[in-house]
Amino acid sequence: MTRLRTGGVRAVIGAVLALALTGALAGCSSTGGKRAEDARKAAAAQGRAAVGTPRWTFAMVTHSGDGDTFWDIVQNGAKQAAVKDNINFLYAHSDEAQQQAQLIDSYVAKGVDGLIVTLAKPDAMKASVEKAVKAGIPVITVNSGAEQSKAFGALTHIGQDETVAGEAVGDELDRRGKKKALCVLHEQGNIGHEQRCAGAKKTFGGELVNLYVDGTNMPDVKASIEAKLQSDKAVDAVVTLGAPFADTAVQAAKSAGSKAEVDTFDLNAKVATSLQAGTLGFAVDQQPYLQGYEAVDLLWLYRYNADVLGGGKPVLTGPQIITKDQAGALKEYAERGTR
């Protein structure tokens, strides 16, 4: 029995390898795929430090969950600024407030030369941030926590005010003559998400309804939006709060037979393509790349020249409303993971 089973496993592995080889040799696709990508990437420039300052260590701690596209772009920005500024860049994240605080504490204990923190759960981060400031480590807050940043002793806050971004969406919906909009929240209990929808509600002349969906289960997201659109034919705009959900909302609207326009927060390659094709109305970009890049660069400026930006006020990276006209130019950048 044992031998038979091991034989089975071996056969499976063998079959996988055989299929992989035949796949590579015979079953090739003449369209798309990595080959097309490589062809596009003619020669990517290799980053090199542009300054001769000492190799400082900067650390970034965010409230990101695992595998979040948005934070991936923030990291890309931070890493590229780190290369240019001759910085040793460290990154850690946890969506649990307690763990995020512990991560900050450990970087403080390590004695890093600069710290970048998100304040999505400000109360839980207070003690840790203050500890860092007390230890003489310059802190920059990014993305969320514009209100608390200064009080906690941070140099600057870089990010988008979620309420302001929501208000921009409300205005844009008005401009497009929408009457009833759906705000699709993919994380129940996320303050930033609530602020976005609340902001949109404030400036939007029509009616705005919140719809909560399970963001980790795409078929469920689709079915929920579909159900909502079927039950409420008056909805003429759907606003998703994350780029990956925009395309799903488009599909849901299509199968529900709804004419609602789909708009979204944040950008990715797919959203840029859909904007260009006209299946999406507009996207609100907060330029995550800039949040990572500027944070590292400003820490370097502070270390090198004691420069501070913003004059005590947050430095806003958004909202930037992107429509069909700009989508074409941004697609390329979204594909390489920087927009």
Partner: protein
Amino acid sequence: MSSTAPPSDGLDHVDERLLRTTPLKKLLARPELGSVVGAIAVFVFFSIAADSFLRPASLGTVLYAASTIGIMAVPVALLMIGGEFDLSAGVLVTSSALVSSMFSYQMTANVWVGVGVSLLVTLAIGVFNGFMLTRTKLPSFIITLGTFLMLTGLNLGLTKLISGTVSTKTIADMEGFPSARKLFASQVTVGGVELKVTILWWLGLVALATWILLRTRFGNWIFAVGGGADAARAVGVPVYRTKIGLYLGVAFCAWISGQHLLFSFDVVQSGEGVGNELIYIIAAVIGGCLITGGYGSAIGSAVGALIFGMTSKGIVYAEWNPDWFKFFLGAMLLLATLLNAWIRKRVEATK
């Protein structure tokens, strides 16, 4: 079970297995009966509470929501009847989608090649689960929890390593995509209602699993293994092979779900799927599967998935305050399960 009590009626002692039962009693003894009553109750409830619930298009949406859970609830129910759990089932779906997408993309291969490789890799993970379980004799809870964590990490780590981002690149412009989409993510219009192909997959799997459970030797083995592994082994049931077979079933269905995910949404997010394993287990339990094993049915798991689909979408149709969404969902599930248990108890008392 109450039927094992010695007869005390003073009549001729006939073997209880040879006692004649009426068709009604037979029906009442089916494991899924309670959940069917629960499903009818949920259906009637939302038909009254939400006026758009009964529209054909709405029912199509509810069936789609139920089918994406149901496809996985079938093998999870069989596994549970066989006395084991699989906590890795949710992320395995995502892994399966990631493998076919990334293999096709990186190799610039025809999409079907990626789909085939994904089937082999997914089945290999199923074999790994079953093999580890039977080899180490650790509880399946621990083994599959380990697989769950490892797969969650692998999904993220490998995707980032290979694609450079946390989601896969689009493969919609590659050869083989349209035909694969037809098989895994198309829709058919029946009487003006759009029905997703996942519903067909779901019904087919329920039929297949029911046939296996009730008409084949392997089905008997599943019940025997779940009822008591040692007793089953004593009468010559190949316990290990049965359990590995059950994990292969889970892997196969995860592959189907994963391909649906890939071909209907085109880009796969690597962090998805966490938490879905519980939904599959819940559907199986509502459908009458005992958590301790040895009792349950595939049809029951389908009814459980249907209750889940009706409840989660019914709340949207009823336009209730979304702040209470999870509460309503939980209360509905609890009620359905209680009703299920109550009916089962009544049935066993009248035997």
